[in-house]
Amino acid sequence: MVIFCFLQIPSGVFSLFYHFRLAKTSKKQADDAALSFILGVEIFNTILWLLIYIIIFCCQSSFISPLFLWLMAGICLADAVAAFFFYFRKDKTSTATFISRRIAKCLTSRAKTVKSRSDAITLGFVSCLPELLFTLPLYITCSAFLQDENALPRAILIIIAVVIAVVPLFVIRAFFRTDHNLAEIQRLRVKLKPHFRFILLLAYIAATITLIDLAIINM
């Protein structure tokens, strides 16, 4: 779950979006639009969780076989390496991510031109798509493990997972509401970038070790 907090594309899009909304509307309207963006991210996470959970549920047989565990461990290890070396671009003075510059420019221009609430929700939804490479294995692994839980703990865990994913957006929103501007927030994000990379690496390695451990036990 921690991994979702440290992925930076939705945070970057959200910062830009809030900044441009402040430039074009009042503080209250910018804040309302920000909540719509966060709702878009929540909708994406919820749909993905439920979809993967339902697919795994419909497969009827137990998903947690040693083969599945070794496969997911391998993917998490690959994601660990990718998150550390490739997630952020080499430029030390920016938080530019691995996505192509064309897509980044498209997201930036959308963040600038969004007007209505539905557009803000769509932008929040779309900003999560590029990170599926890093988040999809986590959704699949967690959904497979949730099959074995009872209904109430399962529901609570899914709700916690969906809520945790938007904690960074609420932090950024709190910064904007306390009269910090985009420059200060961006300088802070650049300063924390090495820490984010390291935490992502550690989190993915922890997931890999847990999966390998379970694979060995299940063999």
């Binding site: 594309i9 970057g12 899009v13 910062s15 830009l16 900044h19 441009f20 402040l22 430039a23 074009k24 671009r89 430029d91 003075t93 920016s94 938080t95 530019a96 991510t97 996505i99 980044a104 420019k105 997201l107 930036t108 600038k112 009269d179 501007n181 985009l182 420059a183 200060e184 961006q186 300088r187």
Partner: protein, 86 residues
Amino acid sequence: MKNSDNKTRKDPFNDAEKLLKLHAKGLGIPAGAAEDFIKRSIAAAKKALKSKTIITDADLTRAISKELKKYNSDLAYIYKNYDIII
């Protein structure tokens, strides 16, 4: 500005000015002060780039943000880096 095909070319300095005004408003800089130092920065950047035959986006951004730094470092930072935030 029109080229030989009689089509109007966009002035990159005008686009930069509009973007800077938008950023200044987002950063909460008072409109009057922002307009003043944006105009001064763009005039200084135009002077600095006068000798160049071809002006790239990077040249424009560098020249304007260099001048803007003297007046407001936050605005200069955002203008230089807003397209590498994501």
